[in-house]
């Protein structure tokens, strides 16, 4: 089957070349059919949409006007489909907490 650069008009369509590179970072991955990065770019769009919508429900439940990192973490933990993201969410929030703690302690120096 031929190459398919013409398709992929969604927001992630621009990243098709990069997606192929990302896939090939895995040493186990060999040859990839030309249409595969196009399909995966579409799948990524659907995944992001799903993640955002579910996170936003939590944001609304908490009566927040801003979607926060903590909402996203909670979404990831509550959704079985997203459990592959647990570690990522964990390190992201602990990093944020660490950064906040540092900022607070630095503030106290200037008071």
């Amino acid at each position: 089957m031929g190459v398919a650069h013409g398709t992929g008009r969604g927001p992630a369509g621009v990243a098709q070349g990069r997606i192929k590179k990302m896939m090939q970072k895995d040493a186990e991955v060999g040859r990839i059919a030309a249409a595969v990065p196009v399909l995966i770019s579409r799948a990524v769009e659907l995944f992001v949409r799903c993640l955002l919508v579910k996170t936003c429900l939590i944001t609304q439940a908490k009566l927040s006007s801003v979607v926060l990192l903590s909402h996203m973490k909670q979404c990831i933990e509550s959704e079985k489909l997203f459990h592959f993201l647990n570690e990522l969410a964990e390190s992201a929030t602990s990093l944020a907490a660490h950064r906040d703690a540092r900022t607070l302690s630095m503030w106290s120096l200037y008071r």
């Binding site: 190459v3 398919a4 927001p11 249409a35 799948a43 801003v66 973490k73 990831i76 993201l85």
Partner: protein, 176 residues
């Protein structure tokens, strides 16, 4: 952001693409910066997850190239079966674009003329060209010959005129 920044180890979906997806999915909703950053990294995880699974399926199928079919099956087995309908639509698009491109390039190559006819036309053109070259060569040869003859004649009459020079003058005087 420099487009050539970083080495291959920092590969992610571009931030701009993520921002666009956020804007399209949640218009008029503010999303914290660190949440956006997490989305970027989640995409990377997702790509590696699907990639790995597709690769495993590919290995089991004894094929060497990861095919669209492998990707679709990977999505199913990972629990993302709800994405399959739209992903299959994209696959259809890919196939029809590829088909159009192949048709267009073969149309351009042949202009509708079958190969034997093209060959015959080519032979005709070559024969014509050879003939023209031959005629041209012959003309040049004739011209050379003529030029050589004229030169010879001119040389001969010049030397004859020199020999008979004095007697010719007396006669002329008498006539007058």
């Amino acid at each position: 952001m420099a487009s050539s920044s970083g080495n291959d180890d920092d590969l992610t979906i571009p931030r701009a693409a993520i921002n666009k997806m956020i804007k399209e999915t949640l218009p008029n909703v503010r999303v914290a910066n660190d949440a956006r950053e997490l989305v970027v990294n989640c995409c990377t995880e997702f790509i590696h997850l699907v990639s790995s699974e597709a690769n495993e399926i590919c290995n089991k199928s004894e094929k060497k190239t990861i095919s669209p079919e492998h990707v679709i099956n990977a999505l199913e087995s990972l629990g993302f079966g709800s994405y399959i309908t739209e992903v299959k639509d994209v696959l259809q698009e890919c196939k029809s674009v590829a088909l159009k491109r192949r048709k267009a390039s073969s149309r351009l190559e042949n202009l509708g003329i079958p190969e034997e006819e093209l060959l015959r036309q080519q032979q005709e053109l070559f024969a014509k060209a050879r003939q023209q070259q031959a005629e041209l060569a012959q003309q040049e040869w004739l011209q050379m010959q003529q030029a050589a003859e004229q030169a010879h004649m001119a040389a001969t009459s010049a030397s004859a005129a020199q020999q008979a020079g004095s007697s010719q003058d007396e006669d002329d005087d008498d006539d007058i």
